[in-house]
């Protein structure tokens, strides 16, 4: 009964996704409430003459005196109703507004670089596997391994400096913007759909996206290469060759489709990796996305932002994995249900 078992698998996976999301929310709550430090001290100046009423007001507003279980219940309720509260630091702003605005920029950055990474990484890996042991394969593997072990933040600093100066006095060297999301000095901080602003956004995107792409390119190309090499030793490839297909035809019609299965799993897994990379890149390029906001929230002990930023990241990873699982079941009928 293939249909029946597929439905059971889907049901089981969906339940697992719900449990995982619930687990993320709970662990997140526990971690954040175990942090030392008093957020009140960060919100108001350390002034002994401060009116106690003001402090009490803040405590009431953010419900800081409630017990832990009470806060947990309130937190669960608020999480699911979308009432995410206001930030401690940017007190007039709703957390949900802050996060949804940041999310736009992070999605732009992560999306652009993921597309580039996948296209380039798969091409490099496939060509390396196709001409295994050749000059291209050797050099691309060596370069990939080098980039694989490179801290992304370090590469970001190097690129930032490289395109913010004229190395060796070359005055034709291109200069690229190395901070912020668009030219906020000229156009103000509000994004509008105007030609100049869109161009400025794209210009400001080049360096962060390039850093992120090159930093995660190595993982993709190495996995692509090894999974293709794996496939190339299978018997059906030999059969295909025996039929008289050319190398390219074998690659296109037999090796690539079968080599794609590990790639899909990798893409889902690498979402978490790309998010970690985006944190570092956003921090160095002052790119106002989720990572930038999270790091600042940690240093400021801004719990409301921190709680939901982590949840958004975790849920994105869970959903990406879920979609990849479904795709794999759809593509590869051999996959057994674990």
């Amino acid at each position: 009964m293939p249909g029946h078992s597929l439905r059971r698998v889907l049901l089981k996976r969906s339940i697992n996704v719900c449990i995982t999301i619930f687990g993320i929310i709970t662990i997140n709550f526990l971690l954040i409430h175990a942090m030392p430090g008093d957020p009140i001290l960060n919100m108001v100046p350390r002034d002994p003459k401060l009116d106690p009423a003001v402090k009490q007001d803040l405590i009431d507003k953010f419900d800081l005196n409630a017990s832990l279980p009470e806060r947990y219940v309130a937190y669960l309720y608020n999480t699911f109703t979308g009432n995410w509260g206001t930030s401690y630091m940017q007190s007039h702003r709703q957390v949900i507004d802050i996060i949804s605005e940041d999310l736009r920029w992070t999605l732009l950055l992560v999306g652009t670089s993921t597309v580039f990474t996948l296209l380039l990484g798969m091409a490099v890996g496939a060509y390396g596997a196709y001409r295994r042991g050749g000059a291209f394969d050797m050099s691309s593997t060596a370069i990939s391994l080098f980039f694989y072990g490179m801290p992304i933040f370090w590469f970001a600093i190097l690129l930032q400096m490289l395109f913010n100066s004229y190395p060796l006095g070359m005055d034709w060297w291109p200069q690229l913007p190395t901070g912020s999301y668009f030219d906020t000095k000229t156009y103000g901080t509000e994004f509008r759909w105007e030609w100049d602003i869109v161009v400025s956004v794209l210009q400001h995107l080049i360096l962060p996206a390039a850093t992120l792409s090159i930093g995660s390119l190595a993982g993709v190309s190495l996995v692509m290469r090894s999974s293709l090499l794996d496939v190339m030793t299978e018997d059906y490839i030999m059969t295909a060759r025996a039929k008289g297909l050319t190398d390219l035809q074998v690659l296109r019609w037999h090796a690539l489709p079968n080599g794609m299965t590990p790639m899909i799993a990798l893409i889902a897994l690498s979402i978490a990796f790309v998010i970690s990379g985006a944190y570092q890149v956003e921090y160095i390029f002052n790119y106002p996305g989720i990572g930038y906001t999270t790091l600042n929230a940690i240093w400021d002990l801004d719990f409301p932002i921190l709680q939901f930023v982590v949840i958004v990241g975790g849920v994105a990873v869970v959903i990406a994995n879920f979609v990849a699982d479904l795709l794999l079941i759809y593509i590869d009928p051999r996959i057994k249900i674990a």
């Binding site: 997140n28 942090m35 430090g37 933040f153 370090w154 970690s276 990241g313």
Partner: protein, 456 residues
């Protein structure tokens, strides 16, 4: 003596009076400007080691007048420094060479005396036993292990059975074979060469470094000096020599990477083994927890745990990386154990009545060990990167120098703008090469021990 002349009788008295006067002068001391000078005694010459305390134990003897002050004058390499103070002073020797110290004692009538003492300060002879005791322990353990194995193989130790001897001979043969094969594998050989280089750097780095570094204190040099012949890569914003910091960093970076990878691997292996072997609802629960940990991006999880701990020490960093990094290994080991569990030889072992513990220790552990080992090597690489990233994001281990903290300070001081390019480039390159070494070795091990990969 006018009255002597006027009185004839007085002529006879005068000599007596004169004699009396002289006698009086001789008998009764009269304070005059010409009192005796004090005698200064600066003490014996001394020879001490760098860092020892020197006690200047001067004495001064004098007649009844009080001594106004004692002055010690230090001359060292053409410099003179004067110190007015107590006659006994204690100093910490901080410079090498000979000091000529002059004690000057003055009394309240302006008389003075000087005495000179020479103090030679020598380099402290390195107490090899004290500084590298761990090296001797390791060498000792290794030597006794080798001796034991040698005796075992050649049958000098009689209490082991023939089977054990044969087994250990096989083990030695196999590990020699593995090493030979690693060196034949291009990636493995490159990895081993890189790791040997960094291993030597980790052991010898602090000895080779031109300046000593104590990161718990302020640096001794002027901050942010440009590279010069004294400081090859300049000095940092905390006043340390950057090249020395680089050499010191190797040891800590490797320690952090290796220890946190060991913690993560042991945790992951035990959890994966248990989960895969028992199955059922326990496996479900563990895997759901594992899912949660894998879903929160690792960096974010580490930052949250680090923020929770507040003050971060070296061991805290190791624990943070180790305790958050086990889930990948656990999943890998679980999959391996689940596939092993269904093999026929396990079924046979069960059929002849082997217990769980016997099956795990005799069949499952030996078969999953190569996988765990290769994975541990790869985890070391990831852990080194994790430490660098955490340090860079201001979660720095206190009082230590790692390449990550160097990069963090360099970026805060915008090293490129002040002309200290090496400050950013060198630690980054070191991290990349070290990680590369572990990655190469891990992949090569994986290729050799995993028979499925070996085929191609």
């Amino acid at each position: 003596m006018a009255w002597c002349v006027t009185s004839k009788r007085g002529l006879a008295v005068a000599p007596i009076l004169l004699i009396g006067m002289f006698m009086a002068i001789g008998l009764f001391p009269v304070t005059t400007a010409q009192s005796l000078p004090p005698v200064a005694e600066a003490g014996p010459d001394q020879t001490v080691c760098l860092g020892d305390f020197i006690t200047l134990n001067g004495t001064a003897s004098t007649d009844d007048v009080a001594i106004v002050n004692y002055t010690w004058t230090f001359s060292y390499g053409g410099l003179n420094r004067t110190l007015t103070g107590p006659v006994n002073s204690t100093f910490k020797s901080s410079l090498l060479g000979a000091f000529v110290i002059t004690l000057n004692v003055t009394d309240d009538e302006g008389n003075y005396d000087t005495d000179t003492v020479t103090i030679t300060i020598l380099e402290r002879p390195t107490n090899i036993l004290k500084e590298y005791w761990w090296g001797f322990v390791i060498i000792g353990v290794l030597a006794s292990l080798i001796a034991f194995v040698y005796l075992l193989i050649n049958g000098y130790i009689t209490f082991v059975s023939e089977v054990t001897r044969e087994k250990s001979r096989l083990l030695v043969k196999r590990s020699i074979g593995l090493t030979r094969e690693l060196m034949k594998n291009k990636m493995g050989a490159a990895g081993i060469i890189i790791l040997v280089f960094f291993g030597l750097l980790a052991i010898l780095g602090p000895t080779l470094a031109p300046y000593k570094i104590d990161a718990t204190q302020e640096g001794p040099f002027a901050m942010l000096q440009k590279p010069s012949s004294d400081h090859w890569m300049g000095t940092s914003s905390t006043g340390f020599d950057i090249f020395s910091e680089l050499l010191y960093g190797a040891r800590i970076s490797i320690i952090v990477g290796v220890f946190s990878a060991i913690i993560a691997s042991i945790l992951g292996a035990v959890i994966g083994l248990y989960s895969g072997f028992v199955g059922g609802w326990k496996d479900e629960v563990i895997m759901r927890i594992n899912d949660v940990i894998l879903s929160i991006p690792w960096l974010v999880l580490m930052i949250l745990v680090a923020a929770m701990l507040g003050e971060i020490t070296l061991s805290a960093i190791i624990l943070i990386i180790g305790l958050t990094g086990w889930s990948g290994t656990a999943r890998l080991v679980r999959a391996q154990v689940m596939s092993l569990r269904e093999r026929q030889y396990i079924e046979r072992a069960r059929a002849i009545g082997s217990g769980d513990w016997h099956i795990i220790s005799k069949h499952i552990l030996p078969n999953s060990f190569p996988l765990v080992f290769a994975n541990t090597i790869l985890t070391v690489a990831v852990s080194i990167l994790a430490e660098a990233t955490l340090s860079f994001l201001k979660m720095r281990p206190m009082g230590t120098v790692t390449w990550g903290t160097m990069l963090s300070y360099a970026s805060e001081a915008s090293a490129f703008h002040v002309g200290l390019h090496w400050w950013i480039v060198a630690p980054g390159l070191c991290i990349v090469s070290l990680v590369l070494g572990f990655t190469l070795l891990g992949h090569a091990l994986d290729e050799i021990t995993n028979p499925r990969l070996r085929r191609r």
